[in-house]
């Protein structure tokens, strides 16, 4: 692991969690972390504990819901699932992301 890892960009963790739950169905915290790392091909540096404050935030906003279940290894774990409102929010955020990314990529020079 000599490769340089990027920090999670402020405010993008919520978005990555919503997307993971949208494409994978119900997941527990570790499942979400693994999904994010796999999709990012392990170049994203994520303190996995910080997923939990984000999950609390998303749940309070009604974008995800949770319930206790049993993991594949027979451990009691809380499973999270995206709600209808969460899907709407995700669509909105994705649009927003590409708009901003488009603007910034037009401003910044391309790397050599």
């Amino acid at each position: 692991m000599t490769e340089k890892k990027s920090e999670v960009l402020q405010g993008t963790l919520d978005l990555m969690i919503l997307q993971s739950l949208d494409s994978m169905g119900p997941l527990h915290g570790w499942g979400i972390a693994r999904r994010i790392e796999q999709v990012s091909e392990d170049v994203l540096f994520l303190n996995q504990g910080t997923i939990y404050p984000a999950l609390l935030r998303l749940e309070q906003q009604g974008w995800i819901k949770s319930e206790w279940g049993v993991s594949e290894n027979n451990r009691k774990a809380k499973y999270f699932q995206i709600t209808r409102a969460g899907r709407r929010q995700l669509a909105k955020e994705v649009d927003n992301w590409w708009r901003i990314a488009g603007i910034i990529s037009r401003i910044l020079p391309k790397p050599e």
């Binding site: 303190n47 504990g49 609390l56 935030r57 309070q60 993991s71 290894n73």
Partner: protein
């Protein structure tokens, strides 16, 4: 935030203060399970248990910080911290009894003296009674005795005043 969202935001966080221990133990359990899952996975891939334990902790990040962030999401911090400050205040007063006593006494004397001076000033200088010669005002009451069976009249009172 829209007004309705704001109301929900604060009311949830205030209600959560009453479910504090459930929420906290929920969080502890989830973090614990998560760490175990990482560890199990690493061991399954052939890592030594003690090393896997260390690695799992590292991957989870700073536990204290995570908990603080989670509390920010769960509770209305200003109320929570206010309650904690008051508790802390009482506890440290209980620990320093002599100081607490002196502080209580000086507060009592201070407030007492102030109230006394104010009520005196208020009733004589600021709001004197609305009639002449208030200093000659008397309170009259009667004490039953053997010789006077009836209530004394004003004239008998006057004659006895000497």
């Amino acid at each position: 935030m829209k007004p309705m969202q704001r109301i929900r935001f604060f009311s949830t966080r205030i209600v959560n203060l009453f479910r504090r221990s459930t929420l906290e133990s929920d969080l502890t359990e989830q973090l614990e399970v998560h760490r175990q899952m990482i560890k199990d996975d690493l061991i399954e891939r052939g890592m030594e248990p003690s090393q896997a334990e260390r690695k799992a902790r590292e991957v989870m990040g700073n536990d204290v910080m995570v908990r603080e962030l989670a509390r920010d999401e769960m509770f209305a911090r200003f109320i929570d911290e206010g309650i904690r400050d008051i508790r802390h205040g009482f506890r440290s007063l209980a620990q320093h009894k002599a100081f607490a006593t002196v502080a209580a006494i000086s507060l009592a004397i201070g407030i007492g003296a102030n109230t006394f001076i104010f009520s005196l000033t208020n009733s004589t200088l600021l709001n004197p009674p609305g009639y002449p010669a208030p200093e000659r005002l008397l309170t009259i009451w009667t004490v039953p005795d053997r010789h006077h069976k009836l209530n004394p009249t004003l004239s008998t009172t006057r004659s006895r005043q000497a």
